[in-house]
Symmetry: C2
Subunit: 479 residues, 2 copies
C-alpha cells in the first residue's frame, strides 16, 4: 500500500542512473525543458535550493560578506583579458550576437563564471589599502555549454553563488580561501549530512586561472565522486590582468590578492545520490523544506482536532509542518510523503486514537513508532529529527569508509575501479603524465591532495610510475 | 560639517536627472558596468532588493504561491507561438546564436519575460482540473534591449519576480489578477511609503498578449509617473497557443485561464525619486537594510560601553543596527549615514554623556532629538521609526495630491504638463486616436483607468475629441 506512487522508481541497485532520474521525477524536483540541456526547477526542487541559500547566505554574512549583482553578459574583449580563464572556458560558452534586431559590433558572452566582471569592477573601486578587503558574493544563474547533461549534476544553465574577494595581502587572501572551504565543508557535514573530504586540487585539475584550488569532494552511493564545492586562490593573476592596483601602507602601488569560491544546485544532486532510496527522496531534516507531515487517516472531529493541535505546536516551535488534507487515500498520502522525502510523518487514525495512540514514521529507516496521544510532540519530533540527521550522516560515512580503498599500483587501482568504484588512496609523484595515464582507468582522476593532517604514508613510490612519491592523493571516477 | 560627502550631490530642484544619478553614486547603490546598458548592483543597492524580496516572497507564500525556476534561454520556435507577445518583444530581445563554439541550428532568445516557458511547462503538467490551480513564481534576471538606460529605472538587464498562474475558471484567474495587484499596492503603501494609485491599463498600454493589465502607478518628486508593478489577466490566449488543456469537472476538455504579475528592481529607483533629498538617500525604516547607526563621537570607555549596550538592546529587539567604529571623523560618519539613508542615527559624545544626554537624528527631517542616557532606547527608536515611516508616506501623499490636476481640454492639459507635470485626471472617449494625439503633449500617456470606486465625473466630454466620454483616466509623463 505504501508503494502506490514509488512503484515507478527503478531499484537503485539495478540501474543507478535510471533510479536517479526516476527519483528526480517522482519527487517532482525538476523536469526537462524544451530548452536543450536546461531543466525546470519545480517547487519541491527549488524549495531545497532556497533552504540551502538561506543557510549559506547567513554563513557568508556572518563571515563579513555582502551580496552584489553583476551583469549576465560579458563583452568579448573583457573576457579575453585573462588568458588561462578564456582558454579554460572557451569551449563551453554561449554568445549573444544579435540585440535589438541588430548584429552587435562586439559579441557578448553569457557568464560561465564572473571573475572578469568582478575584477573589472574592483579595478574601479579599489584605490587604497583602506578600500580593502572587499568581500562580495552573488547568487545568480550561469551557463556552460555542456554536451551531456543530467538534472542538477550537470546542465547548461545552473544556479549558484560565487564569492569574489580582494585583499591587501597574500596571507589574508589565503586565509579567506581556506575559511570558505571550511564554511562549505561544515555545511556539507552539518546540514546535508554528507561526510565530504577536502584538500587541494592538483595543478591539472585546478580552476583555469587559479594559483590553487581547494575542493570539497563527496562520494555518491554508487561509489562515483562528485566535486561539490571549490574555493580558489588567485594570487595577483587577475588583479594584474584587470589592473586592480592600490596604494599600500608603504605608499607604493601593489596589486590586490584575490579569491573566488562557489557551490551550485548540483548539491541537490548530491543529496539525492547520497541519501535517497528505492522509495524516493530522503532529506536530512536540517535541509528539508518541509520537515513533518501530519496525515489524518479519517476525516473525524477527533482526528482533525489532534492534527491541528500538533500542527500548531510544531510550527510554533519552528518545526516546518503541514497537514495533508487533500482528497486522496491515506495510503496514497503515505507514499507521497515518502517519495517526497518528508523526514517525519505523523499518522492519526480514529482506531489508534481510541487506544490513545498515534503512529510516527521516520523516513530514513521507514520505522514506525507508536506514541501516546498526550506525549510532548515537539520534544519527540525534535529528538527524532536529530536522530535522523545523525543516522543519515553516519550511514553515509560508514558507506564512504567501506568504499575507500588503498592501491599500491595500477593493477590494484584497475581492479578496484572495475569491481566497486570509490575513493582510492594512492601515492603520487606529482607528475601530470601519471595523472593522464591513470585517467585511462575508466576516467579515474585525482579528486584532491588531502591536507597534511589527513596525509597518510601508503607507500614510498608513485602508484603509476613507481618513482619516489610526493604525497598521497585521493582518486575517483567523477560525475 | 554634515555635508562633507554629499557636497557632490547636485541639488534636486536644479537638475533632477543629475541629482538622481548623484544619489545613486553617492549612496553606492549601483555603478555603470562595462557591459553596455547594464549596471553593477553594489552592496547598498542589492541589500534594498534583498529586503524587498524577503517581504514580497513572504506575501506570495502566504497567498499560496510556490517558487520555481525556468530556463534563461527560449528557443525561437517556442517564443513564436503567441503572436502578440512576439510582436511586442521582438524589437527588444537579445539572441544567442553560438554555443560551444558552434553556430546553433536554432537561435535562442534571452528571456525578456517567461510566459512562453511557463506556458510550455504547464502544458505538460496540467491534465485535469485536479492539477489546478498552479500558483508559481520565479525570482530571476531578464533582458530587454533598451536604447536609453538609467540605473534601476531602465536597464538592459534587470532583476524581478514574475508570477505565472493557471486556473480552472475565468473567475478564479481574475480574482488572482486583482489579488496580486493588491499585494503590490499594499507593499508600496506599507513598506515603500509610496502612495501609488491603481487601475486598469488602456488597450493601447496593456501588456502584449494580455486580455487586460492592472497597474500600480506612482508619482516621482518631479511629477513624472513610474509604472511600478503590473498584474495581467490572459484569459485563454496563452493556453490556446501553448495547448494548456485539461479535463474539467464536466469531463470535457477546456483551456486553462492564466495570469502573470511582476515587480522589478525599478522599485529601488522609485524609492529614491519619491523620498530622497539633497543630502542623499532617504529610506523608509520598514525597507531599510540598516535601520539604526550608532556613532561614537570619541573612543572612550563610557562612550563605547553605551554604544555596545544600545546595539545589543536594539538588535535583540529586531531593529537592524550597527556601530560605525571606522577610523573616520565623526563629521564624516554623520554625512555618510545621511547619504546612505540610515533612518535613525544615534550620536554618543563624551560631553553629552557627562550631562546624561545622547543625541538622536532622524534622517527624514534631519531633526535632532536629545534623549536621556537611561531612556528606553528600543521604545524610543521604534516610535521614531514609525513616525518616520508615516511622515514619509504623508509627505509623498501631500505632494502627489498637489501634483494631481484636472483638465477639461487639450489646452489645459498642455499648460499643466508644460508648467508642472504630474497626474492629470481627464475624461476619455475610449478611442486609441485620442491617446495618440495626447501623446504629442510631451509624451503624455494614459497611466490607468481607476476602478469604479475611484472614478470621478469631471466632464461629459473627452478631453481630446470632445465626443461623449466613457470614463475618467489618469494621465502622465512616464519614465
Amino acid at each position: 500500500m505504501n508503494d502506490i506512487q514509488n512503484k515507478a522508481i527503478t531499484k537503485r541497485d539495478v540501474d543507478f542512473a535510471k533510479w536517479y532520474t526516476d527519483v528526480v521525477r517522482a519527487a517532482r524536483l525538476a523536469t526537462y525543458s524544451n530548452t536543450k540541456g536546461c531543466i525546470v526547477f519545480e517547487p519541491n526542487g527549488y524549495a531545497i535550493w532556497e533552504r540551502m541559500q538561506s543557510v549559506l547566505d547567513n554563513e557568508f554574512k556572518k563571515t563579513g560578506h555582502q551580496n552584489v549583482y553583476m551583469p549576465l553578459l560579458i563583452p568579448e574583449n573583457l573576457m579575453n583579458k585573462e588568458g588561462e580563464l578564456v582558454n579554460g572556458f572557451a569551449p563551453e560558452v554561449a554568445w549573444v550576437t544579435v540585440g535589438g534586431q541588430k548584429e552587435l559590433d562586439e559579441r557578448l558572452c553569457i557568464r560561465p563564471t564572473s571573475e572578469t566582471l568582478f575584477s573589472d569592477y574592483y579595478s574601479t573601486v579599489v584605490k587604497s589599502y583602506r578600500d580593502l578587503p572587499k568581500l562580495y558574493n552573488q547568487w545568480c544563474n550561469v551557463l556552460r555549454w555542456e554536451k551531456e547533461t543530467r538534472p542538477f549534476l550537470r546542465s547548461r544553465e545552473f544556479l549558484w553563488q560565487e564569492g569574489h574577494t580582494v585583499h591587501e595581502t597574500k596571507e589574508e587572501a589565503e586565509k579567506e580561501t581556506l575559511q570558505m572551504l571550511n564554511v562549505y565543508n561544515d555545511f556539507f557535514h552539518n546540514y546535508l549530512a554528507i561526510p565530504s573530504i577536502v584538500g587541494k586540487k592538483t595543478d591539472k585539475e585546478k580552476f583555469a586561472g587559479a594559483e590553487y584550488t581547494y575542493t570539497v569532494e563527496s562520494l555518491m552511493y554508487n561509489g562515483v565522486s562528485l566535486q561539490s564545492g571549490t574555493s580558489h586562490y588567485f594570487g595577483q593573476k587577475f588583479s594584474r590582468a584587470y589592473d586592480i592596483k592600490f596604494v599600500n601602507r608603504e605608499n607604493k602601488f601593489d596589486y590586490a590578492y584575490q579569491t573566488s569560491w562557489g557551490v551550485t544546485t548540483r548539491m541537490i544532486g548530491a543529496l539525492i545520490m547520497v541519501h535517497s532510496d528505492d522509495y524516493g527522496l530522503v532529506l536530512p531534516p536540517k535541509i528539508a523544506p518541509r520537515q513533518v507531515v501530519i496525515i489524518p487517516i479519517k476525516d473525524t472531529l477527533e482526528v482533525n482536532d489532534l492534527a491541528n493541535k500538533y500542527l500548531d505546536e510544531l510550527n510554533r516551535n519552528n518545526i516546518i509542518s503541514y497537514i495533508d488534507n487533500t482528497n486522496k487515500s491515506a495510503g496514497f498520502k503515505f507514499a507521497e510523503a515518502e517519495v517526497n522525502g518528508i523526514p517525519v510523518r505523523i499518522e492519526i487514525g480514529p482506531r489508534d486514537l481510541e487506544n490513545g495512540k498515534v503512529t510516527i514514521v521516520r523516513r530514513d529507516t521507514r520505522e514506525k513508532i507508536e506514541i501516546d496521544v498526550n506525549s510532548d510532540i515537539v520534544n519527540i519530533v525534535n529528538n527524532l529529527m536529530n536522530e535522523i540527521q545523525d543516522n543519515l550522516y553516519n550511514r553515509a560515512l560508514e558507506r564512504r569508509n567501506k568504499q575507500t580503498y588503498v592501491a599500491h599500483n595500477l593493477e590494484e587501482m584497475t581492479n578496484i575501479m572495475n569491481e566497486h568504484p570509490g575513493f582510492i588512496k594512492a601515492m603520487w609523484c606529482g607528475n601530470h603524465e601519471c595523472e593522464t595515464k591513470i585517467k585511462e582507468i575508466k576516467g579515474t582522476k585525482s579528486r584532491c591532495i588531502p591536507f597534511d593532517e589527513e596525509q597518510e604514508h601508503i607507500d614510498d613510490k608513485c602508484v603509476c610510475c613507481g618513482k619516489p612519491a610526493k604525497e598521497m592523493v585521493i582518486w575517483g571516477i567523477q560525475y
